[in-house]
């Protein structure tokens, strides 16, 4: 039995777009030994997932493997028949998808989906597979391993689903598992459990794995080797510790450098601290379910307040209440000392103008049929009454402000922009109303790190130039560290802790803040091991 399990040589993959084949992967080599974990990192569009799927002899619709060889345990997958590939998939090579919630079939129980591959591949009988499932559920530390399999996917939380999917990939005890960003959609506190579970089980069964992610700190915990991809080409590959300590290529270094962005300390304001928005004892609910409970918060003019917390903590609900999209059941919000009407539609146009919002998904926040000049022109017309040449001049000014060339971008459609450019247009749209206060709802979480950093720098510059106040909603603590003045930590609709950034980030912490802070992966490859050890010795709360 050869030591090398997977040997991909000069693999090229093309995708069909604009009526021709365009290269996605441009000749990449990849070698994986039995039991070894390779981390595959790069920005979106680098071809990580495409390369990962190619290791299964699979391409997404509209793509094809156009060159090279993929040798899996003596079998060339580029030449194998569909039937031969089908028999490998699920049995000897398994796949763990990014979003477990979407990758589980909603119509069937978890355990039935677990048993499907072993039964269909003839590895074991249904009864044996069920017993095996319970065993693996226990190993992967799912709660109630005996019964959890009899639930439907929507009845189980995201972190648990992701672990159940890892167990499912293990069902036939494959030689190789492809993990395609398995923790990207999870909160940091949940991510840590999934990472630990994945690492343990892969080690226990000595399974080789390709771990795809864009998060360097995560890959540092998981991988033996790291391969960096950029636009379909390999940048470099090295053992994990070596790569982390001493990256060779400029691109790799730039990836490492992202986390070092810090904004300049705010200049002391003349005339002291003026409160722009004063939120007192606000509660809100969706139907009978209370999602905000007695939230009080003061936002100083010209400051950036970061709201952090897991999904479901009420961060976005707070934004909706401030914007008047969801009327609070109790409490009130003062803007410049005067109470805001609870419903946005009851607010005067002048008041609406002052409060603007930038959304997480720039993709869906832009009307795909409107050109950029119309997207930005609409608030100019609506709030400021600008028309004709004056409007056009202002659109040009705004585009220049967000560092996009007006001549090039004015007449484009959103589909002709990159993710970062779209988010810039959303920023320009918010600025067009000449607001004093902007809510940024996870504005960088859908973007790659380098692009996200550019957006953060832009927001920071705009704040200084235009005297803006930000409420910055995020789950990414690195972002908070780089841009916030004040931090608000939320959990289950309640503010757990709030105060100046330095106070929040230095001990002693509230228990939940501690949990949140300690769950953020660090670049140190031993971080996961240490943190798990610490937590077992000193359980929180």
């Amino acid at each position: 039995m050869s030591d090398v399990l997977l040997d991909m040589k000069n693999v090229a993959i093309e995708g069909w777009s604009d009526r021709r084949w365009k290269p996605i992967i441009k000749g990449v080599d990849l070698t994986l030994k039995r039991g070894e974990i390779l981390g595959l990192i790069g920005e979106s569009g680098a071809g990580k997932s495409t390369l990962g799927l190619a290791a299964m002899g699979y391409t997404k619709g509209g793509c094809r493997i156009s060159g090279g060889s993929i040798n899996f345990d003596g079998q060339d997958l580029t030449r194998a028949s569909n039937e031969a590939l089908r028999q490998l998939r699920g049995k000897r090579i398994a796949y763990v998808a990014q979003s477990a919630a979407a990758a589980f079939n909603p119509a069937f129980k978890l355990i039935d989906q677990y048993c499907e591959a072993p039964v269909q591949h003839g590895v074991m009988s249904k009864t044996d597979a069920q017993k095996d499932a319970v065993e693996l559920y226990r190993k992967i530390r799912l709660p109630n391993p005996d019964t959890i399999g009899f639930r439907y996917p929507h009845q189980v939380s995201g972190g648990q689903l992701q672990r159940a999917m890892t167990a499912m990939a293990m069902a036939c005890r494959p030689d190789l598992i492809i993990f395609d960003e398995p923790t990207t959609a999870l909160d940091v506190t949940t991510q840590i459990e999934v990472l630990a579970a994945v690492r343990d089980i892969v080690r226990e069964y000595n399974t080789a794995a390709i771990y795809i992610t864009h998060d360097l700190a995560v890959v540092a915990q998981m991988a033996d080797h790291i391969k960096v991809l950029l636009r379909g080409e390999e940048v470099e590959q090295a053992p994990a510790r070596e790569m982390l300590a001493n990256p060779q290529e400029d691109y790799t270094k730039s990836l490492w450098a992202v986390r070092e962005f810090r904004r300049a300390p705010p200049v002391a304001r003349e005339g002291g601290e003026e409160t722009l928005l004063d939120i007192t004892n606000v509660s809100a609910s969706y139907g009978a379910q209370k999602v905000l409970d007695d939230v009080s918060l003061k936002i100083r003019r010209g400051s950036t307040v970061a709201v952090v917390g897991e999904s479901g903590s009420g961060k976005s609900t707070l934004a909706r209440v401030i914007m008047g999209l969801l009327p609070p059941t109790e409490g009130e919000i003062l803007h410049d000392g005067t109470p805001l009407p609870k419903l946005g539609t009851k607010r005067s146009r002048g008041l609406q103008r002052h409060l603007q919002m930038i959304h997480q998904m720039a993709d869906t926040a832009l009307n795909p049929k409107q050109r950029i000049k119309d997207v930005i022109g609409r608030p100019l017309e609506f709030f400021l009454g600008l028309k004709g040449a004056a409007k056009e001049a202002r659109i040009r000014e705004l585009l220049t402000l967000i560092e996009l060339d007006p001549d090039e971008f004015m007449h484009r459609l959103p589909s002709e922009l990159s993710g970062g450019q779209k988010q810039r247009v959303c920023i320009a749209r918010a600025l067009a109303a000449e607001p004093s206060f902007i809510i940024c709802d996870e504005v960088t979480s859908a973007l790659d790190q380098l692009v996200a950093e550019g957006i953060l720098r832009l927001l920071d510059r705009l704040q200084r130039e235009l005297d803006l106040t930000y409420l910055f909603i995020t789950h990414d603590l690195a972002t908070v560290r780089s841009i916030a003045d004040d931090v608000v930590v939320m959990q289950n609709g309640v503010i757990v802790e709030q105060g100046p950034k330095d106070d929040i980030f230095s001990p002693p912490h509230a228990p939940y803040t501690e949990l949140l802070l300690s769950s953020v992966p660090e670049m140190d490859p031993d971080w996961l091991t240490n943190i798990l050890k610490n937590r077992r010795e000193k359980p929180l709360q």
Binding site: Y95, A97, P106, Q155
Partner: protein, 318 residues
């Protein structure tokens, strides 16, 4: 309470409400017809006594409200009053006719629904292939022709040329099941050809819609056979739209068969309706309309409820 029970109860109540509104509209429409039914039927020369007797017999006395209530009470128990044309109780001859229509519809559905679902799945499985395109275009051709045309073609081929099936579907009340199935084969085929295309195309589209979803890709990556991916992973999640289009077509099988019944001289409800309209037999028209409307509403109600039940999130709440 289980959310599904709440939703189903709500749907049932809405269905009943719709049905009630329909009875009001049908009754009101007949009321609005110009002229007095009694003088209309008996002629201008009829004497007072005859008119009074007629009114008594046909329940034409009393206020509109009283007459509506007694008509509704009768209809609810299956008594639709008396035919104006031949003075026989409507339920007597409409009952058998309705049963015939339902029989033909069930016959056509039993052939067309399985074929449509399987063909739809095959279309999705071999999406874009020659087979798929042949299937799509041939079924499209079938619905593009009017139903009487298809009926005549079938008669020409199967009864005139080959002599396999009779061209008349004049079944007796006491005909056995075998004889019924044999005699009504051609009308059932005609209906099948007409409803097949919609159901097949919807099944195909509903499944194709799902094929790009991550859980379908996941099934492929688990090494599941293509056929099983379609039948086991995609179909259960595509049920809601399929159920809806099937229900609509079943309703059409009952309500829209008039022409087919006329061509094959089949003693169904459609023929009754045609006769009643030409005889201005308004009480029979009323009864037939009510049966059609109730069928439509009940089938759609059933489809709604089934597609709610097909949603695992509702069926198995957290």
């Amino acid at each position: 309470m289980n959310p599904i029970l709440t939703i189903v109860t709500k749907r049932l109540l809405i269905g009943l409400l719709t049905l009630w509104i329909v009875t009001v509209i049908i009754f009101a429409a007949v009321e609005l017809l110009p002229g007095d039914i009694a003088t209309e039927m008996l002629g201008q020369a009829a004497n007072e006594e005859t008119v009074a007797a007629f009114r008594e017999r046909f329940n034409l006395n009393g206020t509109v409200f009283e007459r509506y209530v007694s008509w509704l009470a009768g209809a609810a128990t299956g008594d639709f009053g008396v035919s104006l044309a031949n003075q026989r109780p409507i339920s007597e001859f409409v009952g058998q006719r309705t049963a015939n229509t339902f029989f033909l519809a069930a016959y056509a559905a039993a052939i067309s629904v399985p074929i449509a679902v399987v063909a739809g799945m095959m279309g999705a499985l071999y999406n874009g292939s020659v087979f798929d395109r042949m299937l799509s275009s041939s079924t499209l051709a079938a619905i593009s022709f009017p139903e009487f045309f298809i009926a005549y073609i079938l008669i020409l081929v199967f009864s005139v040329s080959f002599g396999w099936f009779p061209s008349l579907a004049n079944v007796d009340v006491d005909a056995g099941l075998g004889e019924r199935l044999y005699k009504t084969f051609l009308p059932a085929m005609t209906l099948t050809l007409i409803v097949l295309a919609y159901m097949m195309r919807m099944t195909r589209a509903a499944i194709l819609n799902l094929l790009a979803l991550p859980y379908i890709e996941m099934a492929h990556l688990k090494g599941i056979k293509r056929w099983r991916v379609i039948a086991v992973h995609a179909l259960p999640n595509a049920l809601a739209p399929i159920i809806n289009v099937i229900a609509l077509n079943l309703a059409y099988l009952i309500v829209g068969v008039v022409l087919v019944e006329v061509v094959f001289v089949y003693p169904g409800l459609g023929q009754v309706l045609v006769d009643a309209v030409s005889n201005r037999d308004v009480t029979v028209v009323q009864a037939a309309c009510l049966i059609f409307a109730a069928t439509y509403i009940l089938l759609n109600l059933l489809a709604d409820i089934l597609s709610i039940i097909a949603n695992p999130r509702l069926l198995h709440p957290r």
